[in-house]
Subunit: 340 residues, 2 copies
């Protein structure tokens, strides 16, 4: 069995498997070269030849232990009927959904079919991957995707979704439920196309008001994991509730995930205390360390690996690799992790 | 003794004392009226007549249990010699400090003297306050103030300070140490002018990479508290390490603070488990609830008060009151807390 999958069955590895979030991305010159071939970012994600190539680039260059499907968490709202555009230098823009009319315009049925190009990418990557490398499919978690859908873009304080979540729990719950259902269909289609592991990115879990965390984050994740396990009991799920340390214990215990991603603000020792040792931990090197590279980075990576000895652990960053990262620092990092 | 001060000695009150962060601010029409009289925001902070009036407005309107000095956390870098401007709609802009030359240009000596107008404000407020209302002085915590000094403004990912903290701990430590020293002098001057309680705002504590938290947040806070206690053993200190839940236990145990502010993303039950019950908790209502007001807000406020029964607790928000808050909702909130 692939080491990456063994870890997610709770079996600690002597050398932890490694991948890094956004490993296929702008810091790689070969990525920038193929990115220029697409009309826009959504087009890039939905052109299987390009997305397959982007997914495979970091595997070829670094020999990562896992490839992650190249796609975007906002393909789902688009497939549900919400307009989406990526504005250069400004991030994603969506026609915001803020009332029942907006919710009614969303379609759950047929989401996976409309995202068929993503499934072609999964199939193409699977066919090309070396036998030891695992293929990770993914989706944004409902809270995080809903922040974009309701705010209409990135934003930072997520005031509109917080206000809706408190003031109109029925509308908010309706959006979450529609997203949960669409996400399940999308992830199951990824499994059927060849994904061996799934990751649920809850990038904005840290902005959920504490009393709403159960409804906004834990419930949808639990529903998604349950549906995945019913369809494919052997496919592990990694949950990444970013910046939500006080909820880690509940998240790990109640969602049914097999692994938990840990951001770089949360001490790995805290995470190890909050998550039972049958579940894998993944993370949590500060991505900023890769800008300078060198011993500060490699010492810290080695420290994390040593601290996780005997625990099922996947080496990764605490957040995505930064676009300004020199590619050779990623190679240094992998050497440190594997030689640690 | 004022109920606010009793709580900070570890004595639970039947009705928790209340104040709200940014209670003197833009949501109040009377604030906007006097704000218009000053040339710019820094001028406003440094004009005692205006700052006294701003501090007192919410006391008059709502009968808060504590007044907080009207000032800004960036007055310290300015008093240390760093240029500061508030650009309308863009937030603060500072000439960034990123090397040893920049650090050398900072002056610690004389900071409190250069901030004499702030002390005039403290004196003026103290003379005007009703006898039951406590006067809170404050400063930004060194990490948070340093983010502005190094980034040159607000920003969101704090990449430059994180990079410096990892790569050049000597320079980073030098900036923290200078700030810590200046902050001690500034806070002691506030005590001497009449401040009865101090709050240390570490708004950006949540962006500190986990392995650096001890150096960036806990050490400076501990030094500041120690110096304050040496000067004025009776003056309690509230620390507010925002969005840093996994470090709350260590922060409460090792900094020597008498109370800990809790943001709205952290369950109050988690905070109550992390902080020993001899210390007060303060917070943590989501400020977004004040936009809509009504029962959702008052029910949640009552729930917090009930959950804290028997614990020393100060009612407050989890972050500053939003400028769009209707002032009457603040009155509703206080009625709910006091009648809960």
């Amino acid at each position: 069995m692939k080491p990456f999958l063994q870890v997610l069955r709770g079996e600690a590895q002597k050398v932890p498997p490694v991948w890094i979030m956004r490993q296929a991305g702008r810091y790689l010159p070969e990525y920038r070269e193929i990115r220029a071939k697409a009309r826009d970012f959504v087009d890039f994600c939905l052109t299987p030849d390009l997305a397959i190539e982007a997914t495979l680039q970091p595997i070829r260059r670094y020999g990562m232990d896992a490839a992650i499907l190249f796609a975007d968490i906002l393909l789902i709202p688009q497939a549900m009927g919400q307009s989406l555009a990526f504005v250069e230098g400004e991030g994603p823009k969506l026609e915001p959904i803020r009332d029942r009319e907006g919710l009614k315009r969303l379609t759950v049925n047929g989401v996976a079919e409309r995202l068929q190009p993503v499934m072609e990418t999964v199939k193409g990557v699977k066919a090309a991957l070396p036998g030891t490398v695992a293929l990770i499919g993914f989706a944004g978690a409902p809270w995080t995707v809903a922040t974009y859908m309701i705010e209409g873009g990135g934003g930072s304080d997520h005031a509109l979704i917080r206000r809706m979540a408190w003031s109109d729990p029925v509308l908010f719950g309706g959006i979450l439920d529609a997203l949960t259902e669409a996400t399940i269909a999308y992830l199951i289609a990824q499994i059927d196309a060849g994904a061996e592991v799934l990751q649920l990115f809850d990038t904005w879990a840290g902005s959920v008001p504490a009393p709403l965390f159960e409804r906004a984050v834990i419930q949808p994740a639990a529903q998604i994991v349950k549906a995945i396990k019913a369809h494919a009991p052997h496919v592990p799920v990694i949950g990444f509730p970013r910046a939500a340390a006080p909820h880690l214990a509940a998240y790990a215990a109640r969602t049914g995930v097999d692994g938990v991603g840990i951001d770089h603000m949360t001490p790995l020792s805290f995470a190890a205390g909050a998550v039972t040792p049958d579940k894998a931990l993944q993370g949590n090197l500060d991505p900023i360390l890769l800008l300078a590279g060198g011993e500060t980075m490699t010492d810290e990576a080695s420290r994390l690996v040593r601290a996780m000895t005997g625990r099922p652990y996947i080496f990764n960053l605490g957040h995505g690799v930064l676009p300004a990262t020199p590619p050779e620092h990623v190679a240094q990092l992998l050497a440190a992790v594997r030689g640690a």
